[in-house]
Amino acid sequence: MSTTTTNAAITVELLRNAACRAHDAMRRNEQRLNEADGKLGDGDTGSMLARLTEALSRADIAQAEDLGAAFALYARAGSAATGSSLGTLLVTALLAASKATKGKTAIGWNELSPLVGAALEAMIRRGGASLGDKTILDAVHAVAEALREVSDQATARRLAAEAARRTLDDFRDKPNRIGRARMFAERSIGQDDPGMLALCILLSDGP
């Protein structure tokens, strides 16, 4: 909804805005995501994300000396907030981002794609799922791909949101291949994966 499209780079300041917007988006979509998870899982995705993003939005990263430190503070705050699958994977992603941005106070929008790629790799390693399993991973992968060669915020936002949305649509009628939902693959067909849906909401609602 923001009309700011000028930032030349990703900074700690931008990160803070992103966290606040993410929290706002998750608060508003908490029950919708719980409901989506109730169909395939245990109905807690929305409440978990609302809590996790609240923890991020409260974490004080203003004093962080670089992006690496800011991501690390977020990882720590997120980790304290939950031990759920998705939450832990997001923390894993934040940790990977922290490593990749250590010592940098800003990165260009053209560096976002590899950053997301690094986060994706860490999530795959930690969670043990594969691309194609109908999880948040597929959407993250699509976002990383879409961000290649992008160099400004407005394009990044638009392409990331489109990629996430497209992935959600593409996977809707595919069966879930991880967790318990595997067992009733037919029933998972037609249902949105809650993790993927959450990312989609974050990217269309967020910065």
Partner: protein, 332 residues
Amino acid sequence: MKKFMNRPADYVDEMLDGLVAAHPSLERCGASRRVIRRAGGARPGKVGIASGGGSGHLPLFTGYVGHGLLDSCSIGNVFEGPNLESCMEAIQFADGGRGVLCLYGNYGGDRMNFDMAGEMLEAEGIVTRTVLGTDDIASAGPDEAAKRRGVAGLILAYKTAGAAAEAGADLDDVTRIAAKTVAATRTIGVALAPCQVPTASAPTFSLGPDEIEMGMGIHGEPGIWRDRLKPADALVDEMLERLIADAPAGASDRVVVLVNGLGATPLEELFILYRRVASGLGERGISVARPLVGAFVTSMEMAGASISLCFVDDELERLIGAPASCPFWIVP
């Protein structure tokens, strides 16, 4: 769904406050106070057993901290795994210098956090092993048995591993016992009515007025079939059939039976179920080493029950019968 609670966000912390206030044998600790350990802490020279998991399953997980059972337990929000820090703390609090077995259910979040915790503590010289509860036969086929979720049967592994650790066994042996128990245990559940996550605005799933779901997971994850309620005996017969068809190769003809209430199902009905379980096993030439009937592993106010069979040999039977004492399970 009506709940006795204050702010939904405080559900877990207020529950833990009450738990330790009512049970002085449990001590609440950790930076975010999301670990329960035995009052007095780890016993030097004993192999420690740490568990952990999401809230909403009392007496699991925290209720099984006690002599002959767990040393410590990390606890997450409702249906969410315990966070990394609490897993690290649970392992540290369980450590008596001879290593720690991490024994918990096979769920993604729980596993990731315990794995990370173990990796981080390795540097500090704490040796850990991991055994995952994987008894829910409805959560994956026999060919993918390692992918199954851990449900009510996990407490039997607590019991045997706990007894072995209490008797002085070393980490490898305690690990062996836990793994052997998990490998010998099969569970299937059936749900009659849903539960609701305190922060959610609706129950996790819904069932029609006469509808039930066979094979439902302990968080309300969909099961094998959904149909009209049948007579108790017919349900038990089907559940036993499925459990026995899935029995481990070379299983003994002697079982520990756990007829477990999911939360809202009255004891009366659990005994009606157990009556048929006992006679059904008898008809199949299987004898009952020890029956357990009650609400041992729940999903808050979910209505339903699970049946677990643990095919025991002499070693497991002896360990299941060894003295133990926690707030919700006393073996004299």
